[in-house]
Subunit: 150 residues, 2 copies
């Protein structure tokens, strides 16, 4: 797992996250990994991305500890890319992107994929930022505090 | 607000979102807008981004209805960029990226910025995907259903 030092001691967690996964292909690779895609050729066909770009993004996601490489589950000689525990924690990011798209970028009734709870077949609840007491918070009810200089 | 047709009738909400905000600069511009940044020069100094790239990203965020341009609040001739209601709904995306970074990309005790509830000064609760009944769901308890062909 990467022990890379972050540029200029970046103290904003949003910026550190965006440095690792804040690009179109990395986010879509992670989305497809959650949907069960594991092999280079399947990522490539699903995304329609150039092989060189896909190889570079997969290498970086492995280097950062978001994906891990393992032998194929069916005993063939393929390599498989699977989410690590760190990668699985990106589920909330993918769901947040999905729900924003559902709410803002589709017309009512327009065909779209759905994310359903396996056990019930129901769509997930809207994910909303909440305070420590569980109350939903709008953006203007929160404020960023920068770290004090050492 | 954009009525742009999405490429190949993209039916995945994650992909539509990523098409609009899935790049490093757009995500960091939106983050800074939540922190109160409004003017071109302030975005530019805060992000250290080239003016031409910043201008292109701001133009695109306005075109997509995420930011709106308005006259300066202090009566000067500056333009200000403010989040629209559509843009404000990205708060959950920014918080999800932040919390993943906090959990995964900082050592315990390492200096970082914090997102606090204004009213209480407490950090926000961890945002987690939940089913319709409010139970926290892991990634493998959810499944994507693609739309049926028309």
């Amino acid at each position: 797992m990467s022990q890379r030092k972050h540029a200029v001691a970046e103290t904003c967690p949003v910026a550190r996250s965006v440095d690792l996964v804040g690009d179109r292909w990395s986010l879509l690779i992670v989305r497809d990994a959650f949907d069960g895609t594991r092999r280079f050729g399947d990522f490539q066909r699903g995304l329609g991305v150039a092989r060189s770009i896909l190889a570079e993004r997969l290498r970086r996601l492995v280097e950062e500890g978001i994906l891990a490489v393992q032998p194929a589950s069916d005993g063939t000689s393929y390599q498989e890319y699977v989410l690590t525990p760190r990668g699985e924690q990106l589920f909330a990011v993918v769901v947040a992107l999905r729900q924003w798209g559902e709410q803002q970028l589709f017309q009512p009734g327009e065909a779209r994929s759905q994310l359903l709870e396996r056990a019930t077949g129901q769509e997930l609840a809207p994910m909303q930022p909440r305070g420590a007491d569980g109350q939903v918070l709008g953006a203007w009810q929160a404020v960023v505090r920068k770290p004090t200089a050492p």
